[in-house]
Symmetry: C2
Subunit: 412 residues, 2 copies
């Protein structure tokens, strides 16, 4: 009989859901930390899909320079995916295929980098591995610009999107201020955030003092009332000369209808596909108030803008990657490294493990005390929370050609 030579096993890393400006920084930290522990890292192509299809990349093929370049490269270098596995009962065959891929490559550590859906998947994989008596440590690694994960104080990816949003809104506001006398009086800027207004709130950081732009913020947490909205915009234009509106893609009427349902359709997570709130609101302002209006829809720009990443956010993204590997090696199964805020000012934070079961499928919307009484702005409490997350500039290196030196992996 043969005896199987004892092996620490390999680590599998996969990216899931919408990418961010710093998810590759987490990947970079995972690979570096694993290499330090002499653990081989395989990366799934296009997230969980690559595991289902046994389409894995051996990251040993990445040079130290590549791993360093991942740190400042936006997007999802190994490919991400929108594919939510259903319950163990419904999708058992798929879960079993995952396990087969794990066994085939002697994968003993599974790090799934995503949001609450991914945390749920990692949790189910862990349960099945136990059922099949296959020793596997499953770790969820946080990532989302929506900042809507439970337990963690903030989500890697959010701080950079928040900084980009606050800076862009301040810049556009200066533009509108210059043009308002003879041209554009109302500017509408749409931000991502399906059910939580965190990014919309971050836009509020662009205002230095009361009355500064953005003068009107529309949150998914507050029911959209057209008459009240138009009245508010008109009042701001009359008193201030112009009005900057920041609207979340997820705003809904009191009856619960998405204002942007024009967008229509649903993605493979079953979420309604949004987008188009800005042109809709702009149209209403122009038609009813007769003010000249401009609008912007940054869409993917806001989650890919590595050129304006937050240093704090980058530090978070790297830390959860390092810790995820350490937790895996310690056997802290079914956990997620989360950001714990020790103090607002000076901002102090640490990373600690939290059970995936507390995070899976949960969604953290903004506390009511973060939204001003009139529903159109943020409070001091919100500023205290948000401020540290956009702090510091972490620029990517640029080439002589004036473009950032981003890494683009080419798979055969």
């Amino acid at each position: 009989m043969t005896t199987r030579k004892p092996s620490p096993g390999k680590l599998l890393y996969a990216q899931s859901g919408g990418v961010t400006a710093v998810i590759n920084a987490t990947a970079s930290a995972v690979i570096s930390e694993a290499r330090a522990h002499r653990i081989e890292v395989l990366a799934a192509r296009n997230g969980i899909l690559g595991v289902l299809n046994d389409d894995l990349l051996d990251t040993a093929s990445l040079s130290t320079a590549d791993v360093r370049a991942l740190m400042h490269t936006p997007g999802g270098a190994f490919g991400s995916c929108r594919l939510k596995l259903k319950s163990l009962a419904e999708d058992r065959d798929k879960y079993v295929r995952l396990l087969e891929t794990f066994k085939k490559h002697d994968i003993r550590y599974f790090l799934y980098n995503g949001g609450n859906d991914s945390a749920d998947t990692a949790l189910k994989v862990s349960a099945l591995a136990e059922e099949f008596d296959y020793s596997l440590v499953c770790i969820g690694v946080p990532k989302t610009i929506d900042n809507d994960l439970a337990v963690t104080d903030s989500c890697p990816g959010f701080g950079s999107a928040a900084k980009y949003t606050a800076v862009s809104v301040r810049e556009c506001a200066l533009d509108v201020a210059a043009m308002a006398e003879t041209s554009t009086r109302v500017f509408v800027y749409e931000v991502m955030g399906r059910h939580a207004g965190w990014l919309a709130a971050a836009a509020g950081l662009a205002a230095r003092r009361d009355g500064d732009a953005p003068q009107v913020i529309l949150f998914p947490e507050v029911a959209y009332d057209e008459d009240a909205f138009l009245a508010k915009v008109d009042a701001v234009v009359k008193s201030n000369g112009y009005c900057v509106v920041v609207a979340s893609e997820g705003i809904r009427t009191a009856s619960g209808d998405f204002v942007a349902d024009a967008g229509g359709g649903t993605d493979s997570f079953g979420h309604t596909q949004l987008g188009g709130v800005a042109p809709y609101l702009a149209g209403r302002v122009q038609a009813v108030l007769k003010h000249k209006v401009h609008w912007a829809m940054p869409d993917y720009m806001q989650r890919s803008a590595r050129h304006l990443a937050s240093e704090t956010d980058l530090a978070h993204a790297r830390a959860v990657g390092r810790k995820a590997v350490q937790y895996a090696l310690k056997g802290l199964n079914a956990t997620m490294p989360v950001i714990h805020r020790v103090r607002d000012t000076p901002y102090r934070w640490t990373v600690r493990p939290a059970p995936l079961s507390d995070i899976a499928n949960a969604e953290k919307t903004m506390p009511a005390e973060f939204i001003s009484a009139d529903g159109y702005g943020i409070t001091e409490a919100a500023r205290r929370y948000l401020q540290p997350l956009i702090r510091g500039e972490a620029y990517p290196p640029y080439g002589r050609n004036g473009l950032p030196k981003y890494l683009q992996l080419h798979f055969d």
Copy 2:
């Protein structure tokens, strides 16, 4: 009888038309250079409108720190305007009012910072001053992100918008590449440029090699053919997995209709108000090709993004400001300091005077040899021209709060 004490007279600076990330850098250079020559500088509030209404700001009220801060502040610090004066015959009363304001404040130098419409206004003012025998030197100072001014090799403001566009498109392309397998396959990015495709062409710099995003660029110089466009996009998706489209707001069908005429209306320059090409094209792609699509409309973001200014562009903007003052003091009436390109590589440039009459109302579209044979890309000649303009990063200073330290002037 009294004798009027001889005076060198004052200099009036005004901003016109759409603002840019670096027009205030030109203003800063004008003020610094004039101060060096002991010339008082008045700035018109909201461009020519401030001259008509005798609403002028004495820039002596700006501290040296303010003038330095102008160098890295986007928007139009003194206010701009969209107000085109008609012929001397039609708008004679207005031109006479301008002259009255000049006389009242002993303004002997008029620097109008704008595009070809502003060059035309400066030219007419100069003619009227001559007719009234009022000694006045009129200088046009170039500015426009559209890069469509005649004579000058490039326009201050364009290089920064071009850099922002190329970097943003590359970032969004990495995002789409990561999502394409299970989600978005086509991404449409709309750029400004009413009649000239310079910014659309700049997006082409995001591509490192053939086949890189953006795979499809739609120029105003090329008639839009929906069938050919959709066939091209579909072919790229089939071969590459995803397709990034960059579309100019000004694209038109063979019959000359603006694709985005949904936007409707006209601004006070009489230009058709555009916008909305991206959602339109995205809708066609989704409806006909059934590919999942996302789209972005940066609008004012692309001309206000001082956080990603081009160092070359900033140098141009400062140089034309300095030279404008020097030309004024030399009495080079009815001229504009223009960028003269000495060499592509290494890039060398100088500033020299050109007659306003060669620039007023002219419009420079892209040479045919800058657009690839199939009409969807840029040529090597275009790259040679565009490349130096986005070179170098000129970041604004940031505060501890993670936001740029932009100057916001408060007028009473």
